[in-house]
């Protein structure tokens, strides 16, 4: 029996959940970034699959997706990257973040074969809401892959039913809109989080727009986990050239790690 999401989840109070795009800026670098994030205290890695038409993403992740697509990244190759990450010492759960169309074209059977072979623990599909996901949620359950559900500030009456079927962790979208850095977070998010927590039996993580330590400080007492995406992707974009160049990669990874640690400094990083 292979390891499950819960086996791999570190025992910490607050889950730091970073998001990076597979293949950006280069497939080899994605592996190193994942390992660096684990060292920096990540509890779960969200691995984004590049997509041509990402409806839930802001400009930062759209650009990263385009760069990754130019590197010929595909869902299948991204899942195989996770296998390599595992061989190189990645122990924490990996959640594949993909739009539904690439999964449809790959085929569910092939998807789960690859998920099991490469140690993938979760699946998050931003354009597959509750009503469209019933079959896939059931399949995930039988395949030992957590189907990660999202709730949004507009979910209102939907929160209860989504929370009751959620697996792994429940992803709260902090505010209306697409992914991306926001200067300030709307304080309404705290009320929303406490409402979601009433219904959820699993960890409640919050994401979308969290980009600095003051956001983390504001949110950490109101949730079980914090997802940080665009801020990291933006840093990766800045370091692009030096991450790809083997002679400067190590120094860039160090800089990336320090940047990550500064954002999550209000929460105690976990030991893996």
């Amino acid at each position: 029996m292979s390891l499950t999401f819960n086996d791999r989840l570190p025992d910490v109070d607050k889950l730091f959940i970073p998001f990076i795009v597979a293949g950006d800026p280069h497939p080899d670098v994605t592996i190193e970034l994942a390992l660096t994030l684990q060292e920096a205290g990540a509890a779960i890695i969200e691995l984004g699959i590049p997509y041509s038409d990402p409806l839930a993403d802001g400009p930062t992740i759209q650009s990263a997706s385009l760069r990754a697509l130019k590197n010929n990244m595909t869902l299948e190759k991204a899942m195989e990257l996770v296998g390599t990450m595992r061989k190189k010492g990645l122990k924490i759960p990996v959640v594949v973040f993909t739009y539904y169309n690439p999964v449809l074209q790959l085929g569910e059977n092939r998807f789960f074969t690859l998920a099991n072979k490469n140690g993938i623990d979760g699946l998050l599909i931003p354009d597959l809401p509750y009503e469209e996901s019933e079959n896939l949620r059931e399949r995930c359950e039988s395949e030992n892959v957590k189907f990660i559900s999202l709730v949004a500030p507009t979910s209102s009456k939907r929160i209860e039913k989504i929370a009751s079927s959620a697996q792994g962790f429940l992803y709260c979208v902090s505010s209306l809109g697409v992914t991306g850095v926001r200067d300030s977070l709307n304080e309404d998010v705290l009320g929303f989080l406490s409402e979601v927590k009433q219904y959820s039996k699993i960890p409640v993580a919050v994401g979308f727009g969290i980009s600095n330590s003051s956001h983390v400080k504001l949110l950490q007492d109101h949730c079980d986990g914090i997802v940080i995406g665009s801020a990291l992707v933006k840093k990766i974009e800045e370091l692009n050239g030096s991450l790809v160049d083997p002679s400067t990669r190590e120094a860039s990874l160090k800089e990336f790690k320090e940047y990550v640690e500064s954002i999550i400094s209000p929460i105690k990083p976990c030991e893996v």
Partner: protein, 398 residues
């Protein structure tokens, strides 16, 4: 035929709501408001009053006598959506959705546009109903359709250039959806075709079926029988579904015409049903142009209104059930038909509509003189005159 869509917004296996969770509640609100509105006689009266007094409906049914004589086959009739206010069928749907937005208390509307016809229609209804309007348009289309951009601005709308992807309709639609996700509480998104998540494909059909309802009545009055064949062009597919829908239960043969661009055996076409595969675009499961990894690929057509990589889910369903046949016409064939109609009948059609005309002329010539053929002339060609001129006089190869 079973009644579609079902309560989940499915046309058979097609359709659905593949959107971020943030939009689910707004979509449910629109679905409920639409249901109530369509059952409310006051709403229906306001919609039909606007179609009549503002848009100029019913539009004429024109017998294309000269072309018919020249081709020597079936009698060809044109349903003249080009005679609508703003020059195309798009206004029918824009009026309907704007009235619904008003009923829901939304004062700000957003729209996407390719050729600019839907953008102009949305800007027009925004002006009429006192609403704020933002139109998302690809930079490539802005360059191709300068006149329509100016018309939208003159009407008081803000045209927002979209620089992602191929900078055309698909990208404008992505950007409009992303903007809507951020502003869904006070904005109403007017989608211009029978695409997008449920209830849009149904809603746009319900506002466009006036084309087919009118045509059916007019045709019966003129000919004492229904047409033998009906032909309409399909990009997203709103004029064609509006035309086809009221005839689905009748024994009338129907043909949807897609843009074959430089030919369906090249990479340069927009023939989604002919060459596409099942997948998800803009919130719907339908046929679309994509690569083996599920990345959506860029379509091509001389017509900015037809180069969309997807197609309305109801068309996908009608194609799979065999009720409607879908064929395609190249840029060159469309331009030939455009010139024939212009010279013979004194009507300059939109290049979109010229695709339907090309197929109609081909079919009519093979039919018997006692048979009849109805074509949806979805819009007028004024907006395309510049592109047509470039091709016909500039030596640009069609």
């Amino acid at each position: 035929m079973i009644k579609v869509p079902d309560i989940n917004g499915r046309f058979g296996e097609f359709g659905g709501k593949f959107v971020p969770e943030t939009l689910m509640q707004p979509l449910e609100e629109i679905e409920l408001a639409l249901k109530e509105a369509l059952e409310d006689p006051d709403f229906r009266n306001e919609y039909f009053d606007n179609l009549r007094e503002y848009s100029g409906r019913p539009t004429a049914l024109t017998y294309a006598k000269n072309v018919t004589q020249r081709l020597g086959g079936a009698k060809i009739y044109l349903k003249r959506e080009d005679l609508n206010h703003t020059g195309a069928h798009k206004i029918n749907n824009a009026i309907g959705q704007a009235l619904l937005a008003k009923r829901m208390g939304k004062k700000k509307i957003i729209a996407e546009t390719g050729a600019g016809q839907h953008g102009v229609a949305s800007a027009t209804v925004a002006a009429r109903f006192g609403m704020e309007c933002k139109v998302f348009m690809g930079e490539e289309d802005i360059a191709r359709q300068k006149l329509n951009v100016f018309r939208m601005q003159l009407l008081g709308a803000e045209v927002i250039p979209v620089s992602s992807g191929n900078k055309t309709l698909k990208d404008a639609t992505n950007e409009a959806i992303r903007y809507w996700v951020s502003n869904c509480t006070d904005h109403f998104y007017i989608i211009g075709s029978v695409v997008g998540p449920h209830p849009y494909p149904k809603m746009v059909r319900d506002f466009q079926r006036v084309i087919g309802d009118e045509a059916r009545e007019q045709f019966l009055e003129r000919e004492g029988k229904l047409p033998t064949k009906i032909v309409a062009c399909v990009g997203g597919g709103s004029n064609s579904i509006g035309m086809f829908y009221p005839f689905l239960e009748d024994s009338v043969e129907m043909i949807g015409v897609e843009a074959a661009g430089k030919g369906v055996n090249t990479d340069l076409h927009a023939a989604t049903i002919t060459k596409g595969t099942k997948g998800i675009i803009h919130g719907s499961l339908t046929y679309l142009l994509q690569d083996e990894y599920g990345q959506i690929t860029e379509p091509y057509s001389i017509s900015a209104g037809l180069d969309y990589p997807g197609v309305g889910p109801e068309h996908a369903y009608l194609a799979d059930t065999g009720r409607v046949k879908y064929e395609s016409v190249t840029d060159a064939e469309a331009l030939d038909a455009l010139q024939l109609l212009t010279r013979e009948e004194g009507i300059i059609p939109a290049i979109e509509s010229a695709h339907a005309l090309a197929k109609a002329f081909e079919k009519a010539a093979e039919m018997k003189p006692d048979e009849t053929l109805l074509v949806c002339l979805s819009g007028r060609g004024d907006k395309d005159v510049h592109s047509i001129m470039e091709v016909l006089e500039g030596g640009v190869e069609a």
